[in-house]
């Protein structure tokens, strides 16, 4: 059951589209994807191979996108990413930035739900059952959800720490290939 379905059932209500105010900001000059790498709440959702993913993407000569790093200022800087927006967007500006992106890449967090609202393509990493927080408003053909087999690798911790470090068992090449595939790059 998705979180919003839990909330809807608890309140006896139906689910429509979410709502957010949008505030225009200056966008990157070329087509871009967004990446949300850092979880400030704990290490369980921090993937350590983002730099490998980025390097594989930008080394593909058919990948002609800027990579916009989003999140807080405390985020570890990633090679080859535009950090101009890092820590500098409010919720409304972030919505505008994601709305105009070609794809969103990141872990299970608020920007994923924003991207889903705007029907963006996305690749999302999970360290617990994606069924609870998948991009609810997305077309399944537009999304790739990556998570380990919890029966094989161990059950989720349901906290921001994760002794099994499940998210970091996801191969970086799987992430890269998923991004390229969704962008139509072989």
């Amino acid at each position: 059951m998705h979180l919003i379905e839990t909330y809807a059932l608890n309140c006896g209500l139906k689910i429509e589209k979410p709502h957010i105010k949008i505030e225009e900001i200056e966008l990157p000059s070329k087509k871009y994807i967004t990446i949300h790498s850092h979880c400030e709440k704990g290490p369980g959702r921090n993937y350590r191979n983002w730099n490998n993913v980025i390097l594989e993407l930008i080394s593909n000569n058919k990948f002609d996108f800027e990579i916009i790093h989003i999140g807080g200022l405390e985020s570890e800087r990633l090679i080859g990413c535009n950090d101009k927006y890092l820590g500098k967007t409010n919720f409304h500006q972030l919505a505008y930035l994601i709305k105009n992106s070609e794809l969103h890449l990141g872990y299970d967090s608020f920007p994923v739900h924003l991207a889903s609202h705007f029907s963006k393509k996305m690749v999302v990493l999970y360290n617990s059952y994606s069924q609870h927080s998948y991009p609810y408003w997305s077309d399944p053909k537009d999304i790739v959800l990556l998570e380990m087999d919890y029966e094989e690798h161990g059950k989720p911790s349901y906290s921001y720490g994760d002794p099994l470090d499940l998210m970091n068992k996801i191969e970086h090449t799987t992430i890269t290939n998923s991004v390229l595939k969704l962008l139509g790059i072989q």
């Binding site: 979180l3 909330y7 059932l9 209500l13 689910i15 429509e16 979410p18 709502h19 069924q131």
Partner: protein
């Protein structure tokens, strides 16, 4: 007798003890925020975080349609309040105080008439030690919840 003193009296009558003073600030805040509104009121509480507050906005049209005669208030932590800016279904956004979770304070008990007519607290199922929504990702829903 002010609102807090009425609550104190009710708590004393039921539990034989006084209401914690930490409630006082919250009670005075809510009372002030609700003062201009004499209509029926719903409070929807989602203390945190950004994703959950944003997801919750998808319920507000259904809430307004189901309760057209009520004003919808939403309580959340200060940093998430901007997520509710310009929401056409939300009458007012309140700052979340942990003591708001007390249903008797929000809805009334005995001589205390309460602040709100309806109080939704869906976060209790996902954000507290009473979390009960995780079912190994295998549960299904027999109802159509889409608007």
């Amino acid at each position: 007798m002010n609102t807090f003193e009425i609550m104190q009296q009710q708590v004393m009558a039921i539990h034989g003890e006084t209401l914690d003073e930490t409630f006082k600030e919250a009670v005075e805040y809510i009372e002030k925020e609700l003062e201009p509104d004499s209509g029926k009121k719903i409070l929807f509480a989602m203390p945190q975080s950004a994703g959950d507050v944003f997801l919750s906005t998808s319920l507000f049209r259904s809430m307004q349609d189901t309760y057209p005669e009520y004003n919808i208030y939403v309580a959340t932590a200060a940093q998430y309040k901007p997520l509710l800016d310009d929401n056409p279904y939300v009458y007012k956004v309140l700052s979340w105080y942990d003591c708001m979770v007390a249903q008797a304070i929000m809805l009334g008990s005995g001589i205390w008439k309460g602040f709100f007519d309806i109080f939704f607290t869906p976060f209790i199922t996902t954000q507290t030690k009473f979390m009960n929504y995780v079912r190994n990702g295998q549960d299904r829903i027999a109802l159509d919840l889409r608007y």
